[in-house]
Symmetry: D3
Subunit: 141 residues, 6 copies
């Protein structure tokens, strides 16, 4: 069992707020992130797959295929977008790093053909990042 | 003469487009950056001041003072903001890295009390950055 | 279950030696780190909390609160300090990265209000770092 | 139980291909990495050992000893080498990051005198890296 | 006048030696870099162009165009290659970072359509890098 | 003319204060850096030499020689030291980044055998760094 990671980047804007909260509560909970006109980040996404090494290739999987999958299913949908309104899989969710990571897991997990998805790690900045490993996903829906 | 640099970060959203251009021309010139709902970045700002070392302190200037100046005049105005609509000193400008750097120079240059502003370096991402050293500023107005 | 990490930095000096060892043994065990006048580092601290995502906020916890907790309980006590003599929670301990990480865990673990402390990661330099996850803490006292 | 990591770097060249594959299959599987004259990387190696903190030293192990072990057993054998032909422990293997990490584990694991080897992490680039923790090693031989 | 930089990466192998030197002299001059089977690096290339900001676009040039130029003229020719034998513009030269940077300058300088090439910066590793700004190019032929 | 840079690291402790200042003035000028028991940093030093490329070697100079010079003349004297009391070339100076950079220039400049010293860049942290290029050195004595 070996773990292989592919790192990618995208940039996007978002605003954190809950439409069911009052303005005061949104300010208290989300602070600067509640700016009505939004703000943005360069996100870094690390996707880790675990599996056996194929002795014919010395590889767990073809990184080109993993890279194409991540680009097609995630990066093309979020890069240079507004995460509140432009991204189908985030509609109706508050686009926190936590929710984005959970949704990326949901999207990629059934599509990994060799090995199994092990971890989605999403950096909102150099200082803040989240990790999701597929535990207890039902809670967030 | 010695050069001292202070690095800071901020995150913001923006959209690149010229209201005088047709939709097609905006697409051709700005591409993904013309997404109507915007996108965003973690910007890194490096401000360099040059000056003589004061033999009493061994320092060109008090970095705390420079840090406070950068925070008050720049970071508080752009961090967690939309650069198209929330930032007074960028109104009416296309918020490219070039224009942001030029405006930061204009703001900081007269306010450096010890030494002289030497360079404003602005990273829009790890891969793209601009440098302005005060040459030919009149052209951009 | 999701894991959220906050990264912070501090700078401090220390000297590694055991007063119960002879000078020769301290030299053999601690080498350059035994310099009597000390040396120092820019430390990087990553604190990871795990928990459920609150569907009302899309967040595990309020990062501002975590940041304030880390600053108040750890950073303000160690930043720009001498770890051998200035820091109450390290008195009587050899201030290795291992011992500092263990003590930071002890301090933060009971104070995390949402979720649970998962990991304390302390970089003494880019090349050396330690991780503690709360296993077998009693051994080090 | 605490985890301590030492990071090292080396640079090497390699070519990925399986002599049992046709030219076409090698192209399809390995793509650019199958260039007959090879290519190369700056590799980053992180070796993590887990163990108890010795209350006499405040350390899990002597990092100087770990550093010497990694240098003697790994770095001196791979740094500034061609991984296909110059490195005894890789002969007969396709020098993928996966296989290199597995072999480094095999070499270091019995030689760690204090604590136990926990993880070998090998970055082929900033974007691609693998992790091996000693699970199911028999499969790769 | 503003300076805009695009950063790109490539990986390649090389061997440093002068066929006119004896084996002993090659060893003395190039050391580990003279390994007959070569070694390799992840190179980072930063290309800086200087120019006026176009008030219609807020940009010095179209970064997409610069990126395509760098990819077509440089990256596609050196990435995943052996710099001693696979790269036309390096044939007959010792592929040191110095010579590679000089040749990249020669290739790109006449092809920059907006602004002027200001600097080619080439990192052979995180620890070693060279900068060329077009001064005294005739010496190296 | 090409510029070649070698990057090195060292860790050290220091205290910033002027013995001619009152306690209050030292607090006002140096703030946290005036902690009587000191603090410390991981410093990063970049030394840049400029020169012609030797067509026989493709190099400006032998980086091994430059590395040995920097290690012997600078790193061995400051690494794991207290910059206030352990380092001969800093005695009597306030060990600010500015003064350290100036002294490193003074030490290295006459000892560069091929090419000329162009720049000494010293990072006290990721956020603060100074550059010295040999201009107006007499002022700091």
């Amino acid at each position: 069992m070996i773990y292989i990671t592919r790192k990618t980047e995208f940039c996007a804007s978002h605003r954190l707020f809950n439409p069911d909260f009052s303005h005061e509560k949104n300010e208290a909970v989300f602070g600067l992130c509640n700016n009505p006109n939004g703000h943005g980040h360069n996100y870094t996404l690390e996707v880790t797959v675990r599996g056996q090494v194929d002795p014919q290739t010395g590889m767990v999987l073809d990184l080109k295929v993993l890279k194409q999958l991540i680009n097609r299913e995630v990066i093309e949908k979020v890069d240079h977008k507004n995460l509140n309104v432009d991204v189908g899989f985030l509609l109706g969710l508050i686009p926190t790093a936590e929710n984005i990571a959970l949704k990326i897991w949901e999207i990629l997990e059934p599509k990994i053909e060799y090995g199994q998805l092990h971890e989605v790690k999403l950096f909102e900045s150099d200082k803040n990042f989240v990790v999701y490993r597929g535990e207890a996903l039902e809670r967030v829906n």
